[in-house]
């Protein structure tokens, strides 16, 4: 009996080695393919997430709710002060509401005078946050709307107030939103009132830094940061946040969107801009004759 066991073990060991080797080879192969041809693998990832995560949503919603209730429960301890605070804020808000109503009327009048019509194509789809990225290294959320609802890669998402991120990876029923705080996020922005263009690049912190800024001396903490629409992917003039000076002396953006509780997100439908296929014929004459004659005359002179 013991003899048999050792025999079978001698048999099995090389087979096990081979199997392990094959598995490791296969895994590293997938990783290399991902590194080389990332879009294809990311599409596969979106499909898999699409299959896997919604099947859990029935369990996710109650667990998340319970966790949030426990979170909220801690705030009951100081309910009286909170109430007072809310009353005070409500008072202020009433004043703001009055101002807003007046401005709205004025705006409507002006729009009417100018015969301006807002683009009806700028509509949105609202989605519920199903899941987050699940790892501290990536900042993204998964929405319960997808290709079925006409969502496309690259569209902007906002919460009620400010820009939250960009759709990247669309499955049939889900779409992943890369948040502005993710290390892969780069958004062209304009900083008001100086009107300077810059790039907002996420670095996995709550306040992403502003990069590629031409003259930082024109920027002051508190300036508004809005999307610039450069590159044609994002609609322009979406509110992002306000400039603040980080503890590392870098200009950072305090985001307007409430990142602490992302629950419902609006995905803005953006219309594809006309693609320019041949830049040469737009700028220069189709045949190089003109250029040729110019150089000849230049030589003569």
């Amino acid at each position: 009996m013991a003899q048999d066991k050792t025999n079978s073990e001698d048999y099995l060991r090389p087979i096990r080695r081979l199997l392990t080797g094959l598995v490791v080879f296969f895994l590293l192969g997938i990783f290399l393919i991902w590194r080389i041809d990332s879009p294809r693998v990311e599409r596969f990832r979106a499909d898999l997430v699409d299959r896997f995560v919604p099947s859990f949503s029935w369990a996710m919603a109650p667990v998340t709710t319970v966790a949030n209730v426990i979170d909220d429960f801690q705030s009951y301890g100081r309910i009286y002060e909170q109430n007072q605070e809310l009353r005070r804020e409500l008072q202020q808000m009433k004043a703001w509401k009055e101002a807003a109503l007046q401005l709205e009327q004025e705006n409507a009048k002006l729009l009417d005078l100018n015969k301006v019509r807002l683009d009806p194509a700028l509509t949105y789809v609202t989605g519920v946050v199903l899941a987050d990225s699940g790892s501290p290294f990536r900042q993204s959320v998964l929405l319960n709307v997808g290709a079925r609802d006409g969502i496309q890669d690259g569209w902007a998402t906002m919460d009620g107030i400010g820009l939250v991120g960009r759709v990247s990876g669309v499955g049939q029923n889900t779409a992943r939103v890369i948040l502005l705080t993710d290390t892969n996020s780069r958004i062209p922005v304009t900083i008001e009132p100086s009107g300077q263009r810059a790039i907002l690049s996420g670095d996995n912190t709550a306040n992403p830094p502003i990069e590629l800024l031409e003259s930082p001396e024109l920027i002051r903490p508190g300036d508004r940061v809005i999307s610039s629409g450069d590159g044609g992917v994002f609609p322009a003039d979406l509110l992002i946040g306000r400039v603040s000076l980080g503890s590392d002396k870098r200009l950072r953006v305090r985001l307007s969107a409430d990142y602490e509780r992302l629950k419902f997100l609006r995905v803005l439908r953006s219309q594809a801009s006309t693609p320019i296929t041949d830049p040469g014929s737009l700028l220069a004459p189709a045949n190089g004759e003109l250029a040729q004659t110019e150089t000849e005359t230049g030589d003569d002179g």
Partner: protein, 179 residues
């Protein structure tokens, strides 16, 4: 010898897969959408290594590879690399399961901690060689450290709650041979 019957082993394999999916599920809950400055421990890795040392037959290679590949895909890592590292490390621990069986826990802990540390370092270096965008080092370090520190707790839970215990000397030889 009830604890070596195929159905018993199969039950524990299913339990491993289920626990891993539960951990993934907990990770994916949208509770924390603000960036953090620390990393949570990789519980799946700790559990996989603890079980590979105790009962190698509960965590066959193919199951480990499948579960960690799924984790890679769902947690937005470059798919395959982390899974490959975990498979290699768990194979190393599996091969040494016999010698680790009789040593006191601190020695086992040191071996596993070393394997974990090597995995984390190789992962970080591999990603930087391939120019994959990476987050701050602090998150990475806290994740590595907390994974190592949580290992004894995972072992205790596996031992006392789940009943994953080291087997007697005569069994281990046959068990490591199984696929």
């Amino acid at each position: 010898m009830a604890d070596n019957s195929p159905s018993y082993v199969l039950l524990y394999r299913a339990a491993f897969a289920l626990l891993c999916i539960l951990i993934l599920f907990a990770h994916l809950l949208p509770l924390d959408t603000l960036p953090r400055s620390w990393g949570s421990p990789d519980l799946m890795m700790a559990m996989c290594f603890a079980w590979a040392v105790r009962r190698p037959d509960f965590v066959p290679v193919v199951l480990v590879a499948a579960v960690f590949l799924l984790a890679d895909v769902l947690l937005l890592r470059g798919p395959g690399f982390w899974a490959a590292l975990v498979v290699i490390a768990s194979e190393y621990l599996r091969a040494h399961a016999v010698s680790l069986r009789d040593v006191p826990f601190p020695f086992e802990f040191a071996t596993v901690a070393g394997a974990m540390a090597i995995c984390f370092v190789v992962y970080r270096i591999g990603l930087s060689i391939l120019f994959v965008e990476q987050a701050q080092l602090s998150i990475f370090l806290t994740q590595a450290l907390s994974t190592i520190l949580i290992y004894p707790i995972v072992v205790a839970v596996s031992h006392f709650v789940l009943g994953v215990r080291k087997t007697s000397a005569s069994d281990v030889n046959t068990l490591t041979g199984r696929t």
